[in-house]
Amino acid sequence: MIEIDTNEIALELKDVVKTYHKVPVITQLNLQIKKGEFMVLLGPSGCGKSTTLRLIAGLEAPTAGEIRIAGTDRQSHAKASDDIAMVFQDYALYPNMTVYQNLDYALKVHKVPKAARQQRLTKILATLNLTAYQDRLPGQLSGGQKQRVALGRGLAKKSPIFLLDEPLSNIDVQLREKARDEIQDLHQANGQTIVYVTHDQLEAMALGDRIAIMNAGKIQMVDTPDNIYNHPANLFVAQFVGTPQINILAAQYQQGQLQFQGQTLPLTPGQAQALAGQGDQGLDLGIRPEHVLVHSQPAGQPAYPAQVTQIIDYGRYQQLTLAVNADTTLKAITTNNDVTKDTTVYLTFAPKHILLFDHKNQKNIEK
């Protein structure tokens, strides 16, 4: 991991452990988030990403470890903080208060002068296009509007750290992209540190400066969207990110060469270096469907003949299911519409896109 200058760290989780009734939910979590960074926590449901967010928020106390905000330890108990605002998945708007009152309430309770409140809220309502709705109750708003109100309430607090828990999951699919862009614009305008939880990989890719992929209470990889997609740290990350899913094929490393289905595949310099001096072993070969090239004639070496068993036409591209033999099938994506079912085609793999994983510990051999 890249070392970050301590002054630049907004938030740090150090050896954090969380167990509920002796069941571990978070096991040894370490994460540093830079000031102004947009950090996305991505993972399947139950991976511990929401718990991590709740720990950061101070809604729960970690069982062990430290949560440091701007360098100071939050100590071992749950506590609310001025430094943190949070948007909940269900927005948590007070149903008995209008949009304006929702934004105003916490400020009023904390005795912020009325003029200052008004000035702050007028600006926020305008930025979020909510001025026309400020006197409505939450029950009278659409999902997208509620989500903007929730964002506005978080912004009104003017805290340096902003936590968002799946804020788009309750919005109609058609409006989701627009809402996503709005969040991005807000981040660019305000420069807050954002920690954003989602299970949607497209959302994560679009928004995150960096993405932390979690599974089973552990962080699997923290990196930029590009590195996560192209250089996944392990098999889980490779398989979790990307649709259709990456092809994972059994390959062998024999006498310094990569063997797949009886033919030798080239190694990248990095892979060759990582494998140098190692004995024969089984490897998991990962190749993303868009990097499986389909030819009607054997073209170049090595090429694998395969039977086309299924074609799904998505309009923009076709997804092919290809059987190399009875045990080995893989998916490929093409845009030229000239493949027919039950014919034989020839496959080649783009060499620099072949990923290799240790069969035992499932790690990318280059990491």
Binding site: Q75, S76, H77
Partner: protein, 297 residues
Amino acid sequence: MNSSKQQHRVLTLLYLAPTALILLVFIVIPIIYTLYLSFFDWNLIAPTKNFVGWRNYLTIFTDPVNQKVLLNTLGYIGLLLVLNFAIPYVISIIVQFFIHKMQGVYKIIFFIPSLFSLVVGAMVFAWIMNPVSGPIALLLRQIGFTLPNWTNSGGLAIVMLCLITNWKVFGYNFVLLLTGLGSIPQNLIDAAQVDHIPKWRLIWDVVLPLNKSMAFYVLILTIVQGLQYVFTPINVITQGGPYYGSSNVLYHTYLNAFVLYKTGNASALAILTFVIFLILLFLEIKFVEGRDADAPI
């Protein structure tokens, strides 16, 4: 860290204090004091109390009047279970599964008497069932019958008094039982109907078992609340008579305490009632609350 935890503790106490204080002063301490009094001979006023050990408890089971009252109490329980539990249950099943409209109307109308005081109920039924000049007596006389003078017979008086509470409680218990039946998933009923399962089998094999916890709750309520409800018409109409024939444990306790001034005897009866109700509470927890996976807390 300590200050916030401390604050939390203080707040908890502050919020619980009003209820806790009221329950302590008007329930917990009184129970203990009643237990204490049950071992004494006292008349509620005299400055001295005589310790008599278990004598008051022995009296409950040996004194013929007390025995009669205990027996009456069993009679009340049996009758209340039929009138205030079994009948409303049958009717709620009919309303839920055998008719298809007007359910809401019946619910609204059935509930109306439970809004009214039992003193009103006692008065009206004393008029309707008046053996000499009441409308029922007149009606019977015209067709050649006489309404027995139920105030002269303990058994008949008990039936009357139970009918009066039935008038008040019927709708309340009906609403509870109907709610229980209504919360049985409709798709279970639909599935059984698609499979051509006869309605009475469906009710016996699916509905009743699924509604067990609500039914048991109402059953316990019928006993616990019914015995207390029946106190009002007893006091208004019969005062336990004729010769303790319509009295029950609760009324006899009251009579001993505030009319006969036999405080010790009253306290022993009260503690006996308390123990019986505790057993019912235990059953309630075991069968109703205990099976609840997502209890409120």
